[in-house]
């Protein structure tokens, strides 16, 4: 899992799932804000016909922040929704992943979180697969 992947995971993961794993990690590194959490909007774009030119679909809420650990590592948090604590925890994880604790944070937080997100996806995909149909066109009984 590279930085792009873990930031994406932290952005999408349910806030309570991240919070539970963060608390279990039981770390409280000292840090200072480079940008305290702020809620804003991002304009989501689509493509005409699914493949063509871009158009504006509508906005989504996003919360972002940036912090620096006392050791100097800088972490960025970008998460979907308006949860400032989730953004803070995401930035903290991002910063810790750049230091000595990276392997620990990866094994104790990122990997279980990724597994939870994947399990939820698989569950939906299994339900979708159960609704797969085969339509038959009926041959008319002409002589």
């Amino acid at each position: 899992m590279d930085r792009k992947e873990w930031m994406g995971l932290l952005a999408r993961a349910p806030a309570d799932a991240l919070d539970r794993l963060w608390r279990k990690l039981d770390l409280s590194p000292r840090y200072s804000w480079l940008r305290p959490p702020e809620v804003g909007g991002v304009m989501v774009r689509g493509r005409m016909g699914g493949t063509g030119a871009a158009f504006n679909l509508g906005e989504m809420t996003v919360t972002r922040c940036a912090l620096a650990l006392d050791g100097g590592a800088v972490g960025h948090g970008y998460v979907q929704g308006r949860d400032k604590r989730q953004a803070e925890q995401a930035a903290m994880v991002d910063a810790l992943m750049q230091g000595d604790l990276a392997a620990h944070v990866r094994a104790a937080l990122l990997e279980p979180l990724a597994a939870q997100v994947q399990a939820a996806r698989d569950m939906r995909a299994a339900k979708a697969a159960a609704t797969k149909v085969e339509f038959f066109t009926l041959v008319r009984g002409d002589d």
Partner: protein
């Protein structure tokens, strides 16, 4: 003209307090939580997100609660909130080919590669009231297949595209115009039309789409594909120097395949209408695709039949239920000064007419 009036503070305050009480309803009935609305009124939440033009299910649930279930009022609340948000930027265009589909059907190809997946649909239900829902009880678990629906499924139109049977879409990432930043001007390009339609009133867009089916600029639409599912949203982050996923949204996408006999310059081929809407909102997405197709008459070299659905100024100027509500409902606010002058005018005209009549009689 609306002229400011003074007074009535206490009455207004009392009216709002009563509104809060009525919103709560009978206190012996348990209060709705936002999570209950979000989870159990999901399609109302989806409509509010789509027309409020802001993807945030918790906020939409709050708006629905505050608006006592009046969805246009809820959309109004979301639109008002949206304007207070700083804009962090725009996402990369979402790639719906990568959608993890809950539902994916085609009315044109029964053996669509990737299969037909019904998903959690009202289709094929009997539309009979289910009195079991009136009683509280456990819901039977949904069936799960041993093998999950695997990976992304290709768009159906890709197959037609390969043979040149359908008009191709011109792929580029140029910054599209944004009607939330610049007022809508006519003629509008397709990007603006799609933005306007996706946030337009579901009932209005449905009515316009239906009019094309009934013969007002008929465009012979087939639902080539309808898919509902989640797509990741990716954005370039300047301070990182690369793009990351900032979340994922549920979308409904409808691609129509429409008859096109060809023109002086184009061979006969199929053309497209496109609908893409936040949430599980398939009636809206299909309607959007039909109206999009009708509005494309000029670029496809078709005749303007004078049908309402071909008139972009008519469609786009009236699709927004918040603009419409604002203008419609303002006429119930005090217009005393206006009305006073009208009243005086009518009295004067009547007096003059009466005087004229009397003169003639004498």
């Amino acid at each position: 003209m609306y002229v400011a009036v003074k007074g009535g503070e206490r009455a207004i305050e009392n009216a709002h307090a009563w509104l809060a009480e009525e919103r709560r309803g009978d206190p012996s009935v348990p209060e709705l939580s936002l999570a209950q609305i979000r989870e159990q009124m999901a399609l109302a939440v989806n409509r509010v997100m789509a027309e409020g033009s802001l993807y945030d299910p918790d906020l939409a649930a709050l708006a629905i609660k505050q608006a006592r279930g009046d969805l246009i009022e809820a959309i109004f609340l979301i639109r008002a909130y949206r304007t207070t948000l700083p804009r962090f930027g725009a996402s990369l265009p979402v790639e719906t080919a990568n959608m993890r589909c809950d539902r994916r059907i085609s009315a044109t190809f029964k053996d669509a590669p990737g299969g037909q997946v019904l998903g959690p649909t009202f289709d094929y239900t009997h539309r009979l009231l289910d009195f079991k829902l009136a009683a509280e009880g456990e819901v039977p678990a949904a069936a799960k297949a041993a093998a999950p629906q695997s990976g992304p499924v290709p768009h159906i139109t890709d197959f037609l595209n390969r043979d040149g049977l359908i008009q191709a879409e011109d792929r580029h990432d140029d910054t599209p115009p944004d009607l939330t930043r610049e007022p809508l001007e006519f003629p509008a390009n397709r990007a603006l039309r799609l933005q306007s339609l996706t946030r337009g009133d579901e009932g209005f867009v449905l009515g316009m789409a239906y009019s094309t089916q009934r013969g007002y600029a008929r465009n012979h639409a087939f639902v080539g594909e309808l898919r509902i599912g989640r797509v990741p949203v990716e954005m370039e982050i300047p301070e990182l120097g690369f793009s990351i996923e900032i979340g994922e949204v549920e979308l409904t996408e409808c691609e129509t395949v429409n008859q096109f006999a060809g023109s002086k310059t184009e061979p006969a081929q199929f053309t497209r209408g496109y609908g893409l809407v936040f949430g599980q909102t398939e009636r809206k997405a299909i309607s959007m695709a039909l109206v999009d197709r009708a509005l494309r008459w000029r670029e496809l070299g078709e005749d303007n039949l004078g049908a309402p659905a071909q008139d972009e100024e008519f469609v786009l100027s009236h699709a927004d239920n918040i603009q419409a509500t604002g203008f419609l409902e303002h006429i119930k606010l005090p217009h005393y000064v206006d009305f006073q002058s009208e009243l005086e005018l009518v009295r004067r005209l009547r007096a003059e007419a009466e005087a004229a009549q009397q003169e003639a009689a004498e």
